[in-house]
Symmetry: C2
């Protein structure tokens, strides 16, 4: 047999033997039986290196640098850390037009949303504007997504408000609350940047989409209900985040409901929801919903000013200070009883905002067929939050709704973020007095319209159709957030997701395989009606790695299959069972408990004069079976490259020695 | 094609189509391509029922009851809950001789060990004897192992002493401490019995053997070092369980070292270790080590009495009350500040003693080729502890060392436990005054000899050889116990084991497959030097279910494989890549994130004019792909039953349309 010139790698001779050809008593042509090979020898160091590189560098980030001159490497390195050098060099005036249009569009959305989300986090409204100015500039330099619109996001704002509000009241101790918010933002950024730097980005993968779906829907319901405070003009309202206290707050203070506020609030809510509906129906009309919030703010401000409605009990934002972000590094809370709270809040909001930012970045990248590097994005978002925390910003990330508008408005590069920041700059410097008469109710309507899209019942229905366990995880997150708390809802959902993995590993499938006539294919008898049992053989497919968590179960389950097969054979008076073949194709790993289980099983079956045969163990499993000297305990005919070869060889032996 | 009469189950027609025969342009004989089938339709309820029965009843405990008359069912039911009715009916005088010999042997071991382990748990010595009387009787009725010797066990005693001792001092508040010990025993039994009743036995599978190895070795080291207190005659000794305070206690109080105690203690320790060594070398001489502890107790008592050594500072057990177990149900601590502690201690000692008991039972059952039902054993051990807690016993289980002696001494049934209990009864009623002069040092020597066998460095070396990650988990448990605490060591070890599973799922292997010439077998190119790449194809084996935790990784990794393959092709100037085949054999499950990843991948590859083909998706995966309407988005040639058929069919298409 010719040696294959395409092989990936050389490996020491002797690890694999040549094909052996057996000529058996009755079968013609001779059976060609292929020996099962061990993977090439590797030292512990090589194995460790390979494993670590798969864990931390699965995307091989340095592949561009291979075989390049030092100067090219320098340029590539700069481009790697500052993507602006990558797209900036090709930037042309042709692109700037689209970027200006999209930048202005998202600015008109970002200004009212910024103010609203700051309110959601119990922070002064101006912090929301500050947070729409500095972070987008940082992201434009460091970020690798071309469509991400950066600024405050609803979920992270909500969670920050909820977590900090549990311990510190924003009305009684506003300065401490503000300090804690900046500190949480700092730790959130630090955590995000470290995840990226240490290439631990896969941690956010543990928030499955199903979990997030339920979590976000729950948060959206809570947030929307909380806005009833503004929409109904209620003054005394709970600080809690569960559905029961919020709803009882709404109905307990019925005497505070103000009909003027309700009428005005509902009108704007209906207006905003209608524009949202139009834009969803016709994506070309994206500007309708994009312009609506600013229009509502302007209209409502004019109305309040014209009718002097603020004296009739409609609450307004009030005076906002002109000027750019003041530095806030001196406001970071570095020691004291609340430091733990700030760190915890930072980490949780950090994970949540990162998940949203990266998911959004990836979505639009895949639409335009470019790559977003998760670990790099984490560093960009992290640095943006660290800098933000020192310049009076709270947690920011890429917002889904604004990024969608950005994309639809034709954004080409991160320049649209710069244009947005410039617009916010102009607002901060000159337009602040205009917000004095803006009513709070319009902010409530803007928040509801923004978060209502997070309740994606169609996706939940799809989960139900496709995967019941995913749906269950989703519902756990949803009801956990609604009835217990935002953090615990999240924790439950992550727990359910991990439990699902462990359950799959603890109780793996085992299936009986049969031969599809005329082929070498062995398939599940329950699925394939043409598949046939092979007399005297029981062929079992093990559909999972064999770990300590399932080794006992698998041992018992296999013995039960054998017992059931023997009962069936007795009933149908077929030829007796002689050989159990385990198809190990899907056993992608094994640990020491698993090896012990295989050994036990072999011994138990041998006592009942049944032969145990392993078919197609993968490389890693072979290596461990070899190292644990299990291979030696299997007899000559105990290991085959495929089920087909095992059946052919062993049944020819049966014929030879009846 | 004839319909197979051996099929497992009927399923609705239409789920699977007949084999299609394609006659392609150039290939002769015609290619026979088999369609991939969907598994038979199941309702949600059927799926749920199947899943739950696999989780909770994998061993199908009711299979004996099928097709039996009601009276037989009653007998079988009685035998199921009280195994004594099973073996009791066949019990003969021939067996009783062996049972008496083995029962007396383990009694001679159980009496000194009982006293010693009570000391380990900081309990009065007599509690150890009480615990060797009632529990073995209960187990003899309910237990299904024939060789388990029941009584106090070292690890559980140690953990109980360590956990309770952290909050309550056994010298200052002995009554409260005793109450808490009985309460912990009660909860331990309740927890064990509920695990069995709810068939949640698989929870103990999460303590892998590697973890337990490290944990037990660490505990053995700590326990042995603590015995230096008795062996050196030190009076002021730490209550802590970490290595550093224990060792500093030993050397800090050097002035308390008593040479008489040290000489006597070391002599007995050497004697016991020598007998242990002899019995290990020659298993037939098991009685040498079995008789040694009682011999040492008798010898040392005589020595102390003869030389009046107790007045020379050798501490003795002192006066023990004659009589049977007093009832202690009134001493259960049902409310108060320490209830949480008692429950926690109960659960942890419960898990540990259960793990030991079941592992020991299974070991000897497999040597004699009978089955031990895990869930039934849990109920037996649990009830034994509940009853024990009401009759002045602390946590008991099956002890490894005594069971081994029992087995070697020829025990045939649980009658040996009854004989042992009878011997303890005689001791309790008549022989208690004899222990008055027994020195504490001999108990220390007995404990060291008993636990030293738990330090199994050979097994640890085997772990190192076979599986480095298992070795790492083992070391984490070992050093965690030594340097932090018993509970945290255990928690770390369980954490490492679960992390190992998650790591395998998060970063699964992907391998490039090649064809082994002359066969339909496709194997890893790195392992099989005879395997050949198929031109224009990239065949990837995915070695894991596709879950939310790895869907992003797999997507990126597959794109990297494609990139690397394209680079390689360019370098070698081979024919261009046209088709990516994913071998899904080992993808035993998929969730909604996984499905999305497959869809994204298909779209991304399509943009690069590459075709994505799935080969051999298993039933569950097919079902989900179908339900999520992903199958429809794959074109006509997107799904095959095996890699071989995919390559054959698609390459014939390539030839037809070049």
């Amino acid at each position: 047999m010719g040696v294959n010139s395409n092989r990936v790698e050389d490996f020491p001779a002797g690890a694999c033997h040549e094909t052996t050809v057996k000529i058996t008593a009755e079968s013609l042509p001779p059976l060609e039986i292929h020996e099962v090979c061990l993977p090439p020898n590797k030292t512990t160091f090589q194995t460790l290196k390979h494993r670590l590189s798969e864990i931390f560098f699965p995307d091989d980030p340095l592949h561009r640098f291979k075989n390049q001159s030092p100067s090219v490497k320098l340029v590539l390195g700069l481009q790697y850390f500052f993507p602006i050098f990558q797209w900036g060099t090709n930037y042309s005036l042709r692109l700037i037009k689209s970027d200006i249009i999209s930048g202005l569009t998202i600015a008109s959305l970002a200004i009212p949303q910024g103010i609203s989300y700051a309110k959601l986090a119990n922070l002064p409204p101006i912090i929301g504007l500050y947070s729409s100015f500095v972070p987008p500039l940082i992201y434009a330099v460091l970020g690798s997504s071309r469509h991400l619109a950066v600024g405050p996001v609803s979920i992270a704002s909500l969670v920050m408000g909820s977590m900090l509000g549990e311990s510190v009241s924003h009305t009684e101790e506003p300065i401490l609350y503000l300090k804690l918010a900046f500190t949480a933002t700092f730790f959130s950024g630090l955590f995000q940047a470290s995840l990226g730097l240490l290439r631990l980005g896969f941690i956010i993968d543990f928030l499955s989409k199903a979990t997030l779906l339920g979590f976000m829907a729950g948060a959206a319901v809570i947030v929307s209900l909380q806005q009833l405070k503004g929409l109904f003009g209620i003054v005394h309202f709970t600080n809690k985040m569960q559905i029961i206290p919020v709803m009882s707050s709404v109905f307990y203070h019925r005497e505070e409901w103000s009909w003027q506020t309700i009428v005005m609030g509902l009108s704007f809510l209906i207006f905003l929801l209608t524009t949202r509906h139009i834009s969803i129906r016709k994506p070309k009309l994206f500007w309708v919903s994009a312009a609506a919030p600013l229009t509502s703010v302007i209209l409502s401000t004019i109305l309040v000013f014209a009718f002097k409605a603020h004296v009739h009990g409609i609450s307004t934002i009030g005076h906002l200070q002109k000027g750019l972000n003041p530095p806030s590094a001196n406001m970071l809370y570095v020691q004291g009883p609340y430091l733990g709270l700030a760190i915890k809040t930072g980490i949780i909001t950090g994970i949540l905002s990162l998940t949203e930012g990266i998911a959004v970045g990836r979505t639009f990248a895949s639409l335009r067929n470019y790559q977003v590097d998760g670990n790099k994005e984490m560093m960009a978002i992290g640095l943006m939050n660290i800098v933000g925390s020192c310049s009076s910003c709270f947690v920011t990330s890429g917002s889904f709704s604004r990024s969608a508008v950005n994309y639809n408005a034709g954004a080409q590069t991160a320049v649209s973020n710069i244009i947005m920041a410039a617009t916010v700059l102009v607002t901060l410097l000159f337009l602040m007095p205009l917000f004095t008469y803006t009513p709070s109710l319009v902010l409530g309507a803007i928040i509801i319209t923004a978060v209502i899209g997070l309740i994606d019942y169609r996706a939940a229905y799809r989960l139900w159709k496709v995967d019941r366990l995913d749906f269950f995880a989703c519902m756990c997150a949803f009801f956990g957030v609604l009835f217990i708390s935002v953090q615990i809802g999240l924790a439950i959902a992550v727990g359910v997701s991990i439990f699902k993995i462990l359950l799959h590993v603890t109780r793996p499938n085992t299936v009986v395989l049969g031969n599809i006539p005329g082929t070498e294919i062995y398939q599940n008898l329950r699925c394939y009606r043409e598949a046939l049992r092979v007399p005297s053989f029981l062929i079992l497919g093990i559909e999972s790695p064999i770990f300590f968590a399932n080794s006992t179960y698998l041992q018992e389950r296999i013995l039960r299959w054998v017992r059931e097969e023997e009962d069936r054979i007795q009933e149908n008076k077929e030829s007796t069972l002689k050989c159990i073949i385990l198809d190990m194709t899907a056993v992608t790993a094994i640990d020491t408990s698993g090896i012990e289980a295989i050994n036990e099983l072999r011994k138990t079956l041998k006592k009942r004069s049944l032969q145990l045969v392993l078919a197609n163990p993968v490389g890693d499993v072979m290596e461990k079976l070899h190292r644990s000297k299990t291979l030696q305990s299997f007899e000559l005919n105990g290991l085959y490259l495929s089920v087909g070869e095992a059946v052919a060889d062993i049944s020819s032996l049966f014929k030879a020695q009846p």
